[in-house]
Symmetry: C2
Subunit: 220 residues, 2 copies
């Protein structure tokens, strides 16, 4: 499935929850399209590709639609995640309580300083880096947010892979590479690894660049 379509489906799913919370029971492709910013025909095409069928003139049953999309998005159960590196960004993410509605539950933090959370109240336990394998395996955590200093990111990534984590959100500038026995794509036979990068400095640089290009009238 194309990345753009995945993004749209996650957006549909969110919008539907909001509409449901307002009291709607049925929705039309036009409602969803307006809220997400795409045409109704794109919405209908996406649903059709996913074998989700509405009723003529009756639109879609909102509960059934949410159940279908949740299943497609793998949100049937909530996914456990760990934050590795509890500095400024890591600590902010640990305390952010908006992920649960996305089916993501942060259950552990790791840092070289396990007392980092004693100063203020901490919603999850903070373990030392030495406990990564033990805790990740025990809690069966498959998802990790890496927010350590760049120079230790590769080492942390390797240890998390070795502990069974398969999904990574990388907040460092390091380009993470899976070591052996993973292949170049980071896969063991039958296993897959997904790494997404969030690089705030790079985003800001790109915005400046795009504005400069626009000023120079070079942007098409």
């Amino acid at each position: 499935m194309h990345q753009d379509m995945i993004i749209r489906i996650t957006k549909y799913d969110r919008i539907l929850r909001k509409l449901k919370s307002i009291g709607l029971e049925r929705v039309f492709a036009n409602n969803i399209g307006d809220a997400v910013g795409v045409t109704a025909s794109i919405v209908r095409k996406d649903f059709s590709l996913l074998n989700i069928i509405g009723q003529k003139r009756g639109g879609y049953d909102i509960n059934k639609l949410i159940t279908s999309l949740d299943h497609i998005l793998g949100k049937d159960g909530s996914q456990k995640a760990a934050v590795v590196g509890c500095g400024r960004i890591g600590s902010a993410l640990l305390r952010y309580n908006g992920f649960e509605s996305d089916g993501i539950k942060i259950v552990a933090g790791f840092d070289t300083n396990t007392r980092i959370c004693e100063e203020s109240d901490c919603p999850v336990p903070i373990y030392s880096m030495e406990k990564i394998k033990e805790v990740i395996e025990r809690e069966q955590i498959k998802l990790a947010i890496i927010a350590v200093p760049e120079q230790t990111a590769q080492d942390v990534f390797t240890r998390l892979l070795d502990s069974g984590v398969r999904g990574f959100l990388n907040f460092t500038q390091a380009g993470l590479r899976a070591p052996k026995p993973f292949d170049t794509l980071g896969n063991r036979p039958g296993e897959h690894v997904v790494v997404h990068n969030v690089n705030i400095g790079l985003e800001l640089e790109q915005i400046v660049y795009e504005l400069n290009m626009a000023d120079k009238q070079l942007l098409k």
Copy 2:
């Protein structure tokens, strides 16, 4: 210029600074390609498109290369930025000192609670939301990071646009829409607006989805 190429250029620029700090004076397309994870021929092609010419066998002069890329990236001077909304994420960004090497200087924060920074030391002044227009215009800030609660994001966005901000990094889940007198792309005649979105919950959802699809062997 294609978005992928912009991303590569910003990566080249970073790698070159690192190599320079190690003491290198000349670099080859192969060096850069290895560090960034692309082939040397892509590096050479990018440079050729940018009219950057190396010497046969001698590679590229690292200082000249950085100067050229900085100019292309609009990093000749440093860009002033503001953080609007100084909650957990906003505060972490305010205190992050890694942007300066990217030519980005955060010079102001805005929050409904201007005393938010009194508890711990704050690197920049925090102003009340009412001062947005005054401060943004006085400091000639063109770049803003929006980290307010979702329900106030659109209002803040409108006020920032009205104050002259043209580049936005949006950390909220709100889909920001430019109001009149901007056109649907958010432009006044001769002006351009660039909005990038960082949605951490959405990123995590997508990672879970991609892993699920991989498990089901549906991912091509």
